[in-house]
Amino acid sequence: MSAFDFLLQGLGTAADPMMLLYALIGVTLGTAVGVLPGIGPALTVALLLPVTYRLDPAGSLIMFAGIYYGGMYGGSTTSILLNTPGESASIITALEGNKMARKGRGGPALATAAIGSFIAGLIATLLLAFLAPWIVKVALVFGPREYFALMVLAFVTVSAAFGDSALRGLTSLFLGLALACVGIDQLTGQARLSFGVPELLDGIEVTTMAVAMFAVGEALFIAGQHGQQEDEVTAVKGSVWMNRSDWARSWRPWLRGTVIGFPIGAMPAGGAEIGTFLSYAAEKKLTRHPEEFGEGAIEGVAGPEAANNASAAGTLVPLLTLGLPTSATAAIMLAGFQQFGLQPGPLLFATNPTLVWGLIASLLIANAMLLVLNLPLIGLWVKLLAVPKPWLYAGILLFATLGTIGANPSSFELGMLLGFGVLGYVMRLFGYPIAPIVVGLILGPMAEQQLRRALSISQGDWTTLLQSPIAAALLGIAALALIVPLILRARGKGEMLSQLAGEED
């Protein structure tokens, strides 16, 4: 069967009323968390993991993907109306979008963001559907050494290649790898770093750590800054519809944004925000109205918004086909798969095609739902911005602890939540990125297992890692991704890299 047949079959699965309900819950929640500053899709999926583990796997995963897509839509609303990005992939949108809103053109800005997100989401999801079977075919020849090399590449790009400091990125990564070692060794059954504490034998729960880092750490950080500035919501005046010239100026940036965003999301380079920066730069170069940039150019909203949705879909390519998360949200979604005993990767396409294709097809449906949620219903989401901060953060922490208690109602687990929350706070305070520690904890055990398998096959011969051309090429790229940014920073060209800083989504 071709990808097209599988996709049609998937649409059949996804059109089931229960699945539609899950998708609707997902996109609604996703839009809400995208709109609210301070909580992103990674946190929301982490919060929901314990709540969903008794629900249907396909439905839960559809919901998670809906949250991811929805977060990308919702973030633009906050950027445009509040000038505070709702999530990191919308930072660029705030540049032009908020200027447009202040000029009374908030409506068209929201519209171009929503329609651009829809078009990008549609094209990118179709690309995902048609690329996935090809990558699965390639991935079937991957052995342990190729997987190990791929993970090393992911480690380097998530931690050291972007951001303002390789030191802090690598420190965050290695702390994650250190935490990953806790628990019973997978191959020999020996207890590592558990210090006789039985709760530690199972290792450190990914969800506890992610919730602590994203919810508790963020709440502490925002609380510490409290009272220094108050945000002001710009009201949407006039029509939300775009006029003829808006359309004419938007459609090319939408397509360009998609073309830029998708491959960046698909590469193990971490985060949707990189694509938005590149798209913004491209639009600024190509525009016929350069004088409007910085003053509210619609191209500067259309391109980056398309790019961030396209990268969200792109991120699902390595996640579904290789089991490799390239962003924090994808990493948490991987934990979601594992909670149901599913391992994303080429085998999943063979063993559970209904689930995979149902998931991909439901993304198309979720995308259409999001367009409806975000254009006619935009007024509702704007009201959400009026929730006072004390109640908002009190609620976030209530649900954060609910998730942890629901998964494991032990004081030890809550103590870890508090401990990692404080760690997350200190890391934010000192400018350490959060994504590497989460990716390190999730991918660390997998990388170790693949490395040990590869070396078992070669009977301890380390050169085996370089004898496979694919593995050697991946390791070579990883080395470049580590060294080149170091040289750039040493030569004082680090500003560009720090602007490309990968944050949490």
């Binding site: 191959l187 590592r192 209530l398 609910l402 508090l418």
Partner: protein, 164 residues
């Protein structure tokens, strides 16, 4: 909790030096722990202790790098922080942790809710604690009764749902 950032040209960054010391400690613990494992490398030559050892050594190296940057004052400026709200949230989490199994989910989480709201400016605990308890109770009822999540019950929960 630190409120540095008054003098723009810091020379030595004590807080960052403490981070470096912390990294040395974590790395040291990893090396110590891995030294007592039976390293059954088998065919691969890489046993359970190998990866912790590498990570521990890497953390030591990163600690040295951190110390150098700290010594030269290369760490970025930190945003000024008020410590009181941060401590209120930490206190709220600690209170929930201690009350959870004694008083049940609703009361413990209500306290966390109120303390967090206080950190963000709602100072009247006499009002926020009851609001928090009621809200947490509604959440408890939905999640434990409808979604079958196991959440610890206390006196309040037993009062309304005698079967818990």
């Amino acid at each position: 909790m630190s409120t540095t950032g008054h003098e723009p040209q810091r020379r030595r960054d004590t807080a960052a030096l403490i981070i470096a010391a912390g990294l040395v400690a974590v790395g040291g613990v990893m090396l110590w722990d891995s030294s007592r494992l039976a390293d059954l490398g088998g065919y691969s030559g890489v046993g359970p202790a190998s990866v912790p050892r590498v990570v521990g050594l890497a953390l030591m190296g990163l600690a040295a790098w951190t110390a150098i940057e700290a010594w030269r004052g290369d760490f970025p400026q930190r945003p000024a922080q008020n410590s009181a709200p941060v401590l209120w949230i930490v206190a709220g989490l600690a209170a929930q942790l201690m009350l959870l199994h004694v008083m049940g989910f609703s009361i413990a989480t209500g306290v966390l809710f109120a303390f967090t709201a206080r950190a963000f400016g709602k100072r009247n605990l006499a009002m926020t604690i009851p609001i928090g308890i009621v809200f947490a109770f509604v959440v408890w009822a939905v999640f434990s009764q409808l979604l079958m999540l196991h959440l610890p019950a206390g006196p309040l929960e037993h009062l309304v749902f005698p079967r818990g």
